[in-house]
């Protein structure tokens, strides 16, 4: 762990820097490929919607003492209750729970579902109260989806407004939104590719990703703004370097927060998989797990690089870059004279950070040079006199 702390220190001071911004074309390409794969999944394979969206019945029987031959017993019970047991999916969740799912039980009415529940309770020798039934009409899911999409659009609009006001530039809002949409699209893509079922709880999870992903991006952008404001004031770093420095400085925080957020979610996932089976808890946790992981990626590899690309062409940013390059060139020549060339760190080019020692040396060298010039030859002669 000491090395992790040291790693953080080095990122902060600039001794060690990862060139996130400079290699942004690589991330764009990588992200592009990933998004194409996600798109192929979504539009090619399609999404696997749960019963709630298609309509059907879901019955779960808990506290079963003897789950032997549960499949055939469930089939028989269903058949005796409503006449046929076609399209039946019987699964065991946990040690004592059996779930039965069907697109249509009997005539597809809620009364038939209740009948089946009764028969199952008898078959598995459990109390009626141990049986949960869930009957969903076919038009249920569409209204849920409709509502979710509506909420999404309103949220994005309000968010754009809030971020534009807070950061006082539309570019940050735009970059944050692109990262957000990326997170959502990519997460949904993962669902399409893996074929994990999407339930209403998953939809809630998707919507929560929004808040979380933007949280991450805002924290990084806050540092970016601080660094770039400083750069514009001092003129010693280009915009890209200042932004890259910010990403590096917040990297440890990004990792820590993601880990801390993922820990409880992982706990939920484990409990969900081992004890509960599919349900609100597990579905939400899985959606958040993917979402937060993807959100951390996007806040580092997409949001800030994109911001740099967006601001690249702005007149004052161009001016800053010119000033910063000029400053750095002159500094480099000074540094070269101090003979510390071999200590050149990666941070120097990617983030425009010079190690404090070298900066000190450079400053001293520059000062000598200036002082050297300041002393007029005549004054020197006077001195000698």
């Amino acid at each position: 762990m000491a090395s992790f702390a040291q790693f953080g220190n080095d990122l902060f001071t600039g001794r060690r820097q990862i060139n996130f911004i400079g290699r942004r074309r690589t991330w764009y390409l990588l992200t592009g490929i990933l998004l194409i794969i996600a798109a192929v999944g979504i539009f090619g394979r399609g999404l696997n919607f749960s019963l709630e969206f298609e309509g059907g019945s879901h019955i779960s029987v808990a506290n079963i003492q003897n789950t032997k031959n549960f499949d055939s017993r469930a089939h028989n019970a269903v058949k005796s209750a409503v006449g046929s047991a076609d399209n039946l999916q019987v699964t065991k969740a946990g040690a004592t729970t059996v779930t039965i799912e069907s697109k249509k039980l009997g005539k597809g009415t809620s009364a038939d579902t209740d009948k089946v529940a009764e028969a199952l309770a008898k078959e598995f020798h459990v109390k009626q109260s141990s049986v949960s039934t869930d009957f969903i009409g076919p038009s249920w899911g569409s209204s849920v989806t409709h509502k979710a999409i509506q909420a999404l659009i309103v949220f994005l609009l309000l968010l754009a407004l809030l971020l534009s006001v807070y950061f006082r530039t539309w570019t940050m809002a735009a970059a944050a939104l692109v990262a957000l949409v990326h997170d959502l699209f990519f997460t949904v893509g993962i669902y399409a590719l893996t074929g994990i079922e999407i339930s209403p709880a998953t939809m809630i999870g998707f919507l929560t990703i929004l808040g979380y992903s933007i949280y991450d991006t805002v924290v990084v952008f806050d540092k970016v703004r601080e660094n770039t404001d400083e750069a514009i004031r001092d003129g010693n770093r280009t915009y890209a370097q200042a932004a890259n420095y910010a990403v590096n400085q917040t990297l440890v925080r990004s990792i820590n927060t993601s880990v801390v957020a993922l820990l409880p979610i992982t706990a939920i996932m484990v409990v969900g998989i081992v004890f509960l089976g599919p349900g609100t808890l597990l579905d939400l946790a899985v959606a958040l797990f993917f979402g937060i992981a993807v959100g951390t990626y996007s806040s580092i590899f997409i949001a800030t690089p994109l911001l740099t690309s967006l601001r690249h062409r702005e007149a004052n940013i161009k001016e800053l870059d010119r000033r910063a390059l000029a400053y750095q060139t002159s500094q480099a020549s000074v540094l070269a004279r101090t003979g510390t060339r071999e200590q050149h760190t990666p941070g120097e080019s990617s983030s425009g950070v010079i190690e404090p020692e070298r900066a000190k040396a450079a400053k001293a060298a520059a000062a000598t040079k200036v002082r050297h010039r300041e002393i007029h030859p005549l004054a020197k002669r006077d001195d000698n006199d």
């Binding site: 090395s3 009409g137 709880a201 809630i204 925080r253 706990a267 484990v270 409990v271 808890l281 000190k360």
Partner: protein
């Protein structure tokens, strides 16, 4: 300067912590208060949602004909009606809400009977009953306007509630003998017993004569109306006509719906079965006992229960209902709500077709309804204004929404109600008439029975997951932040205590229920809450790295972290708020807990974590940057920077240090 700063920072955090403590105490005192004196009693644990507590949740979808649309107003009205029904069924803690503005969701705890479920989805009933007598019970609302002289050509009736403050009419000499009364009512037999009686011109007898002809008491009066009138008049499946069964031969037979004889009738068995009346009670007794408000209700029998039974009273029998500050004893149903085709409101037009200032509510009836209505108004109009019998009550689910007096015979099925209506009161009434009788019934879109055992199991596992997650977060922060991790743990505990208290309190004040989605939201918020501590700690560390002493680093770090924490929490809160406003059901519950935990997060960071860290930074352990404090300047690489700044560390030393850390990094 330094001492001044020290004094101010030492005083303030303690104050803030005290405020937080008071806040927590206030929340829990509030819970204690609701648990001790609340009505209904509050509890120390959060209210649980259906999916955790067990129960039945159904989603109802209106069934409408082709090309018809259900609008939000109708659904809203339906929700109110269903809510009344559920409450009337005596189901406590049932919830009725709209879903996506089109669907209605009903949550019932326990395992409700099929009959209960069925009764919810039935379409609602609006019916017209003639008033027999009325009694003022409270100040009438503005809508219950004083009657206005009819100057209009259109047949109009006006609410006469203002004039109806008479004693129960059965005691008044207004009653006539059934024989002399030849009701105009020609309504189908299914409507009322009165329909069987002979019909003819509605010769109204002079007041004096009325006074002479006392209430029908003799058996002959019974004979005058068909002996089997009550049985033949009750074609509805009510098993046996109550009057005959209970007091055979002793009952006068009412001739029409307005007959005072009804008051002497024994009440229908439905009232007795539900314990609201005793065997042998008459409708007059029921009328006296019937509570219009909760305050008037006898103990253990909420007013709503009376109303619910009133709504279910047989059509062929009299009924009691309340509305506009009046209590009405009403005759059997004479026009059924299904005959009402439309209702509207607007300014009345006079004979010249010019709109007047008078606001009216209009109703249209279909041909059957028009005929029935004509018959009734023919009978009622001659009673004259001021007589309760002149009034025709419109009831919806046991409630009298209006009881206008009949001013003229209406034959075309287009009635108008005038009075001191305002635009909005007219609109309310028109809507009640239009939607009061639900033009649609419902079908079950989803039906979800959660067994309490499954719910409990889910909750237990959820809590288990939460604790495991918390433990992991605690371990990780101890590993990352050493002693500082304990601040995280303490903050999380404070956040947990605050959230639990608020969720419990909100359960009492706003009926907030914790669902599985809500529990998940709370667990997820552990991570989000811990996140703001990390942002804060990392900022402080940054300041330490820059060479500031811890005490100053905490303050400058906080200044910067605070901004970040506030804006990120604002974004999170925005997401929660949008979800809360725009979504329904489970998503709403989740959004609520997420929003709540965001607010709790801000409160805890500002009022607990920061003050505590400020205080800790003044201790020797943290202030001097002990190795295990999490703020060790050496570990944070600050010492090097600081000393290099003073020129004590040579570049060679730095190189050596860098080399050793690089090696360490390689090993890790």
């Amino acid at each position: 300067m330094a001492t001044r700063a020290r004094r101010s920072t030492a005083g303030k955090p303690r104050q803030i912590l005290t405020i937080l403590l008071l806040l927590i105490v206030a929340v829990y005192a509030g819970i204690a208060g609701t648990a001790a004196w609340g009505s209904p009693k509050g509890q120390w644990t959060p209210l649980l949602g259906l999916d955790l507590e067990g129960g039945r949740q159904i989603t109802l979808q209106p069934i409408v004909g082709k090309g018809e649309q259900v609008n939000a107003g109708q659904v809203e009205q339906a929700v109110n009606i269903i809510r009344n029904r559920v409450n009337g069924n005596g189901v406590s803690e049932a919830e009725v809400s709209t879903l996506n503005k089109k669907l209605i969701q009903v949550s019932l705890p326990g395992n409700p009977s099929e009959q209960t479920l069925k009764s919810l989805a039935q379409s609602s009933e609006l019916s017209f009953r003639p008033v027999i007598s009325s009694q003022q019970v409270a100040a009438p609302t503005p809508q219950g306007a004083t009657p206005t002289p009819s100057g209009s050509a259109s047949p109009s009736s006006s609410p006469t509630s203002g004039s109806a403050s008479k004693s129960p009419a059965s005691k008044s000499p207004a009653s006539k003998s059934p024989a002399s009364k030849s009701p105009a009512s020609k309504s189908p037999a299914s409507k009322s017993p009165a329909s069987k009686s002979t019909s003819g011109a509605n010769d109204i007898l002079p007041q004096a004569f009325r006074a002479d002809t006392q209430k029908p008491t003799s058996p002959s009066s019974k004979a005058s109306s068909p002996a089997g009138s009550s049985s033949s008049a009750t074609p509805k499946p009510s098993p046996a006509p109550a009057p005959d069964r209970q007091l055979p031969g002793a009952q006068p037979q009412p001739a029409n719906g307005s007959d005072d004889a009804w008051a002497k009738f024994p009440v229908d068995s439905i009232w007795i079965q539900n314990g609201l009346a005793q065997s042998g009670d008459t409708y007059q007794d029921l009328f006296q006992a019937f509570p219009c408000t909760q305050a008037q209700a006898p103990k253990g029998k909420p007013a709503v229960e009376w109303r619910e039974i009133a709504a279910r009273a047989p059509h062929s029998q009299p009924d009691v209902g309340c509305g506009d500050g009046y209590k009405y004893l009403m005759g059997p149903v004479e026009v059924e709500g299904k005959h009402l085709t439309d209702a509207g409101y607007g300014n009345q037009t006079n004979q010249q077709g010019v709109a007047t200032n008078q606001v009216e509510v209009t109703l249209s009836l279909d041909s059957t309804g028009a005929k029935e209505f004509a018959d009734v108004t023919k009978r009622l109009t001659p009673y004259g204004e001021g007589n309760p019998k002149n009034q025709f009550a419109i009831t919806v689910d046991g409630k009298v929404v209006s009881a206008p007096g009949s001013r003229s015979v209406i034959t075309d099925g287009k009635a108008s109600i005038t009075g001191n209506f305002t635009e909005s009161s007219a609109k309310t009434l028109a809507n009640q008439l239009k939607f009061g009788a639900l033009p649609f019934s419902f079908k079950e879109l989803t039906s979800n029975q959660v067994s309490p055992e499954v719910g409990t199991d889910q909750l237990q596992k959820g809590i288990l997951a939460g604790l495991a997650g918390l433990l992991l977060v605690v371990l990780y922060s101890l590993l990352q932040y050493r002693a500082l991790g304990f601040v995280t743990v303490a903050s999380l505990i404070v956040a947990g205590v605050l959230s639990y208290g608020l969720v419990t309190l909100l359960g009492f004040t706003s009926g907030f229920r914790l669902t599985m989605a809500g529990v998940t939201g709370l667990i997820v918020s552990i991570g989000i809450t811990a996140d703001s501590f990390i942002v804060y700690f990392e900022r402080v560390r940054d300041e330490v790295r820059s060479g500031r002493p811890l005490r100053a680093a905490v303050q400058t770090g906080w200044g910067r972290a605070r901004r970040t924490i506030i804006v990120s929490d604002a974004v999170n809160f925005l997401a929660a708020a949008v979800l809360y406003v725009l979504s329904e059901d489970n998503v709403k519950a989740f959004a609520f807990t997420l929003g709540l935990s965001t607010l709790v997060d801000i409160a805890v960071v500002m009022m607990f974590t920061h003050p505590v860290l400020t205080l800790l930074s003044q201790t020797k352990f943290f202030g001097s940057g002990h190795k295990w404090s999490g703020f060790d300047p050496d570990r944070l690489g600050a010492a090097g920077v600081t000393y290099a700044g003073r020129g004590r560390v040579t570049i060679a030393d730095r190189k050596a240090a860098a080399g050793s850390t690089a090696a360490e990094g390689g090993q890790a």
